[in-house]
Symmetry: C2
Subunit: 207 residues, 2 copies
Amino acid sequence: MPRGRPRLFNPDKALDAALMLFWRHGYEGTSLAALAEAMDINMPSLYGAFGNKESLFRKALVRYIERPASYLSNALKTPDVRLAIRKMFQGAIDMVMEPGHPDGCLLVQGALASGPASEWVRRELSQRRAGAEAAVRRRLERAVDEADLPASTDPARLARYLITVLWGMSVQAAGGATREQLLDISNHALRALPPDHKVAKLSLHSA
Amino acid sequence: MPRGRPRLFNPDKALDAALMLFWRHGYEGTSLAALAEAMDINMPSLYGAFGNKESLFRKALVRYIERPASYLSNALKTPDVRLAIRKMFQGAIDMVMEPGHPDGCLLVQGALASGPASEWVRRELSQRRAGAEAAVRRRLERAVDEADLPASTDPARLARYLITVLWGMSVQAAGGATREQLLDISNHALRALPPDHKVAKLSLHSA
DNA sequence: TTATTTATGTAATGCTCGCTATAATATGTA
DNA sequence: TACATATTATAGCGAGCATTACATAAATAA
């Protein structure tokens, strides 16, 4: 039903290619020439379909969260908190270790620092990271409500710590950390969770 | 005693200004025009005194490690391991929170990702981060040798974890974390250290 | 058909990038 | 003084940047 000439390329595939490049080289390190080549389209088509560089990056960022980084929201849906957090780390490691994937998280690698012209990238990524931290915090709050974590737990502080380790793992991945090393780090972080006393409590009640 | 015309600027001050800019905006986000303006010199003077952009960055990086980031090597000199690690985190927080300082660590903010032309920056910073991790590891090894930490401690893995949290704190700082929040994170991380049993041991011996 | 609409291919826009040629200026040495 | 040396100031270099005219090609609507 579209009116004019149909496009010869697949916008989703093209966006995936763009995401890969932004992810690997960061916002400022990725040129439109390189993008057009990787997306296998020419520049007018790129601008027609995705707008300018900023618009393209925003679309790629949304796609990143929806697809390769969906492990986060998925993991947090797990009924058991401890398993949920474990899945979060496992998912992050799996994503980073996916063959052909850049080493690290786009929310961290995209731009921690930037030139004056692209400060909005820093802010945008910072907000997205804050969003991820808030999601973890809400999950911990739920766990406290459900008595899955002791009432003495401070969800905001614990979430901040766990997500800090996750960002640190992204930095380590950029330095070439192996899957085993990242797993070891996440196992260390998991000890920050209050130990599970449910079994003990249950046996106490049943006694 | 120099033969020709003496330079009108202070090279150390100029290098500090360059460091500040690289630190805040990253390698690719910092232009030579901006550098020359901040250093208050013109381009031929810049090239005469510091070489090209790569050379200038390398000099700024060395200076960074020698001066604002010297807290690391200083902290690790502390006789008590636990205090040494605590001082490491405290020093990092103090550095980041210094008024007018960029938010984060140059080894992290400088370039986690980069365009193909400046991949050497990624590698260089990655190596420096590895160097910092190795310094912590050696300190922990020493602590095990001195029975300051139990023999069951794995210095490499513990060092990797602690430094991962430090890099994560740098990411959090880039997102605007407060001193209190960073302190809370570091306090969490310190619990990864095996508890100090020396007092108990001593009282056992003295009993 | 003709007109309209949209995508494509080529090429060029103005701008900033890192870098340098040229000339003038200020010191020390002969 | 005259020369050699080094720093300064101005201005410009080619290359790459993001972005866009312009003309052509392929679809629908009349």
